[in-house]
Protein backbone atom coordinates (compact mmCIF):
# COMPACT_ATOMS: atom_id res chain seq x y z
CA UNK A 1 0.00 0.00 0.00
CA UNK A 2 1.37 3.41 -0.81
CA UNK A 3 0.78 6.55 1.12
CA UNK A 4 1.66 9.64 -0.85
CA UNK A 5 1.61 12.07 2.03
CA UNK A 6 -2.02 11.45 2.97
CA UNK A 7 -1.19 10.87 6.65
CA UNK A 8 0.66 14.16 6.69
CA UNK A 9 -2.22 15.96 5.02
CA UNK A 10 -4.74 14.49 7.48
CA UNK A 11 -2.53 15.72 10.32
CA UNK A 12 -2.32 19.17 8.77
CA UNK A 13 -6.11 19.30 8.51
CA UNK A 14 -6.42 18.17 12.13
CA UNK A 15 -4.19 21.12 13.12
CA UNK A 16 -6.40 23.43 11.08
CA UNK A 17 -9.57 22.17 12.78
CA UNK A 18 -7.95 22.59 16.16
CA UNK A 19 -6.99 26.17 15.30
CA UNK A 20 -10.59 26.88 14.27
CA UNK A 21 -11.94 25.56 17.58
CA UNK A 22 -9.27 27.57 19.41
CA UNK A 23 -10.42 30.70 17.54
CA UNK A 24 -13.96 30.11 18.86
CA UNK A 25 -12.63 29.79 22.40
CA UNK A 26 -10.49 32.93 22.03
CA UNK A 27 -13.46 34.95 20.72
CA UNK A 28 -15.74 33.72 23.54
CA UNK A 29 -13.10 34.63 26.13
CA UNK A 30 -12.51 38.03 24.49
CA UNK A 31 -16.26 38.74 24.40
CA UNK A 32 -16.59 37.85 28.07
CA UNK A 33 -13.72 40.20 28.97
CA UNK A 34 -15.10 42.94 26.68
CA UNK A 35 -18.54 42.93 28.34
CA UNK A 36 -16.71 43.61 31.61
CA UNK A 37 -14.71 46.48 30.09
CA UNK A 38 -11.34 44.78 30.41
CA UNK A 39 -9.33 45.67 27.27
CA UNK A 40 -6.12 44.11 28.59
CA UNK A 41 -7.78 40.70 28.98
CA UNK A 42 -9.41 41.06 25.54
CA UNK A 43 -5.94 41.61 24.04
CA UNK A 44 -4.59 38.66 26.02
CA UNK A 45 -7.35 36.32 24.77
CA UNK A 46 -6.93 37.33 21.12
CA UNK A 47 -3.12 37.43 21.37
CA UNK A 48 -3.22 33.88 22.73
CA UNK A 49 -4.84 32.71 19.52
CA UNK A 50 -2.22 34.49 17.42
CA UNK A 51 0.48 32.67 19.41
CA UNK A 52 -1.30 29.36 18.80
CA UNK A 53 -1.41 30.11 15.09
CA UNK A 54 2.34 30.77 15.13
CA UNK A 55 2.98 27.48 16.96
CA UNK A 56 0.86 25.47 14.51
CA UNK A 57 2.43 27.23 11.52
CA UNK A 58 5.96 26.51 12.72
CA UNK A 59 5.04 22.88 13.31
CA UNK A 60 3.99 22.64 9.71
CA UNK A 61 6.93 24.43 8.20
CA UNK A 62 9.41 22.16 9.94
CA UNK A 63 10.32 19.02 8.04
CA UNK A 64 10.90 16.96 11.15
CA UNK A 65 8.62 14.03 11.82
CA UNK A 66 8.32 14.88 15.52
CA UNK A 67 5.95 17.69 16.48
CA UNK A 68 8.49 19.33 18.80
CA UNK A 69 7.18 21.52 21.61
CA UNK A 70 4.02 22.37 19.62
CA UNK A 71 1.88 19.83 21.48
CA UNK A 72 2.64 20.88 25.08
CA UNK A 73 2.39 24.56 24.02
CA UNK A 74 -1.07 23.94 22.60
CA UNK A 75 -2.16 22.15 25.78
CA UNK A 76 -0.70 24.99 27.84
CA UNK A 77 -2.82 27.53 25.97
CA UNK A 78 -5.96 25.40 26.38
CA UNK A 79 -5.29 25.33 30.14
CA UNK A 80 -4.61 29.09 30.02
CA UNK A 81 -8.06 29.76 28.51
CA UNK A 82 -9.63 27.48 31.14
CA UNK A 83 -7.89 29.43 33.93
CA UNK A 84 -8.75 32.81 32.34
CA UNK A 85 -12.41 31.75 32.00
CA UNK A 86 -12.52 30.52 35.60
CA UNK A 87 -11.07 33.83 36.86
CA UNK A 88 -13.60 35.80 34.76
CA UNK A 89 -16.51 33.70 36.09
CA UNK A 90 -15.36 34.00 39.71
CA UNK A 91 -14.85 37.78 39.39
CA UNK A 92 -18.24 38.24 37.71
Amino acid sequence: MTDSGLARERTRLAWLRTLLVAAGVAILAARMAATRGDPLVVALALGGWAALFAVAFRRYRSRRAGPGPALPLFALFAVGYAVLGTLLVLNG
Binding site: L28, T35, G66, P72, V79, V89
Partner: protein
Protein backbone atom coordinates in the same frame (compact mmCIF):
# COMPACT_ATOMS: atom_id res chain seq x y z
CA UNK B 1 5.83 14.94 43.00
CA UNK B 2 9.23 14.34 41.39
CA UNK B 3 7.56 12.00 38.93
CA UNK B 4 5.11 14.74 37.96
CA UNK B 5 7.90 17.31 37.50
CA UNK B 6 10.00 15.01 35.34
CA UNK B 7 6.92 14.17 33.26
CA UNK B 8 6.28 17.91 32.72
CA UNK B 9 9.92 18.43 31.76
CA UNK B 10 9.66 15.59 29.26
CA UNK B 11 6.60 17.15 27.60
CA UNK B 12 8.56 20.29 26.78
CA UNK B 13 11.69 18.47 25.66
CA UNK B 14 10.72 17.07 22.27
CA UNK B 15 13.99 15.19 21.84
CA UNK B 16 13.64 13.37 25.15
CA UNK B 17 11.02 10.97 23.88
CA UNK B 18 13.22 10.26 20.83
CA UNK B 19 16.11 9.04 22.94
CA UNK B 20 14.52 5.65 23.68
CA UNK B 21 13.87 2.73 21.35
CA UNK B 22 13.60 3.03 17.57
CA UNK B 23 11.61 5.45 15.44
CA UNK B 24 8.30 3.85 14.41
CA UNK B 25 6.71 4.25 10.98
CA UNK B 26 6.04 7.98 10.66
CA UNK B 27 2.38 7.28 9.91
CA UNK B 28 1.94 5.91 13.43
CA UNK B 29 3.57 9.01 14.92
CA UNK B 30 1.29 11.25 12.86
CA UNK B 31 -1.75 9.19 13.93
CA UNK B 32 -0.67 9.68 17.56
CA UNK B 33 -0.37 13.42 16.91
CA UNK B 34 -3.89 13.49 15.42
CA UNK B 35 -5.25 11.64 18.44
CA UNK B 36 -3.65 14.30 20.62
CA UNK B 37 -5.26 17.02 18.50
CA UNK B 38 -8.66 15.34 18.78
CA UNK B 39 -8.32 15.33 22.58
CA UNK B 40 -7.23 18.97 22.58
CA UNK B 41 -10.32 19.83 20.53
CA UNK B 42 -12.42 17.96 23.11
CA UNK B 43 -10.76 20.02 25.84
CA UNK B 44 -11.22 23.28 23.91
CA UNK B 45 -14.88 22.41 23.25
CA UNK B 46 -15.42 21.93 27.01
CA UNK B 47 -13.70 25.29 27.67
CA UNK B 48 -15.89 26.92 24.99
CA UNK B 49 -18.96 25.35 26.63
CA UNK B 50 -17.91 26.79 29.98
CA UNK B 51 -17.35 30.28 28.52
CA UNK B 52 -20.68 30.14 26.65
CA UNK B 53 -22.54 28.95 29.77
CA UNK B 54 -21.18 31.87 31.79
CA UNK B 55 -22.22 34.40 29.13
CA UNK B 56 -25.37 33.18 27.43
CA UNK B 57 -27.25 31.05 29.99
CA UNK B 58 -29.87 33.00 31.96
CA UNK B 59 -29.48 32.72 35.75
CA UNK B 60 -30.86 29.36 36.95
CA UNK B 61 -33.41 28.91 39.79
CA UNK B 62 -30.72 27.40 42.01
CA UNK B 63 -28.33 30.12 43.19
CA UNK B 64 -24.92 30.12 41.47
CA UNK B 65 -25.72 26.89 39.57
CA UNK B 66 -24.77 28.63 36.31
CA UNK B 67 -21.36 29.64 37.67
CA UNK B 68 -20.80 26.13 39.08
CA UNK B 69 -21.58 24.56 35.69
CA UNK B 70 -19.29 27.04 33.90
CA UNK B 71 -16.35 26.48 36.25
CA UNK B 72 -16.83 22.68 36.16
CA UNK B 73 -16.74 22.70 32.34
CA UNK B 74 -13.68 24.98 32.29
CA UNK B 75 -11.73 22.84 34.76
CA UNK B 76 -12.73 19.64 32.97
CA UNK B 77 -11.49 21.17 29.68
CA UNK B 78 -8.17 22.07 31.28
CA UNK B 79 -7.78 18.55 32.70
CA UNK B 80 -8.55 16.96 29.32
CA UNK B 81 -5.88 19.16 27.68
CA UNK B 82 -3.15 18.31 30.20
CA UNK B 83 -4.00 14.64 29.98
CA UNK B 84 -3.81 14.83 26.17
CA UNK B 85 -0.09 15.74 26.28
CA UNK B 86 0.70 13.09 28.85
CA UNK B 87 -1.13 10.49 26.80
CA UNK B 88 0.71 11.55 23.64
CA UNK B 89 4.12 11.21 25.31
CA UNK B 90 3.27 7.80 26.85
CA UNK B 91 1.94 6.45 23.55
CA UNK B 92 4.98 7.71 21.61
CA UNK B 93 7.27 6.08 24.16
CA UNK B 94 5.37 2.77 24.02
CA UNK B 95 5.51 2.76 20.19
CA UNK B 96 9.26 3.41 20.21
CA UNK B 97 9.90 0.61 22.69
CA UNK B 98 7.52 -1.80 20.94
CA UNK B 99 5.38 -2.14 24.07
CA UNK B 100 1.61 -2.32 24.45
CA UNK B 101 -0.10 1.06 24.36
CA UNK B 102 -0.85 2.37 27.86
CA UNK B 103 -4.33 1.52 29.14
CA UNK B 104 -6.42 4.36 30.51
CA UNK B 105 -9.58 4.80 32.56
CA UNK B 106 -9.78 8.45 31.60
CA UNK B 107 -12.23 8.16 28.65
CA UNK B 108 -14.65 6.16 30.82
CA UNK B 109 -14.29 8.69 33.64
CA UNK B 110 -14.90 11.61 31.28
CA UNK B 111 -17.97 9.88 29.79
CA UNK B 112 -19.44 9.27 33.27
CA UNK B 113 -18.78 12.89 34.33
CA UNK B 114 -20.38 14.32 31.18
CA UNK B 115 -23.33 11.91 31.53
CA UNK B 116 -23.87 12.83 35.19
CA UNK B 117 -23.63 16.53 34.35
CA UNK B 118 -26.24 16.16 31.58
CA UNK B 119 -28.59 14.25 33.90
CA UNK B 120 -28.28 16.99 36.54
CA UNK B 121 -29.06 19.63 33.92
CA UNK B 122 -32.17 17.72 32.77
CA UNK B 123 -33.37 17.74 36.40
CA UNK B 124 -32.65 21.48 36.66
CA UNK B 125 -34.56 22.21 33.45
CA UNK B 126 -37.55 20.10 34.59
CA UNK B 127 -37.62 21.82 38.00
CA UNK B 128 -37.61 25.18 36.23
CA UNK B 129 -40.36 24.13 33.81
CA UNK B 130 -42.77 22.96 36.54
CA UNK B 131 -42.26 25.88 38.89
Amino acid sequence: MRGVLSAVRQWFDPEDVRRVGTTPDYRFSLANERTFLAWIRTGLALVAGGLATAQFLPPLPIAHLREVIAVALLLLGGAVSVRAVDRWARTERAMRLGRDLPASRFPALLAILVGLGSALLVVAVLVQAFE
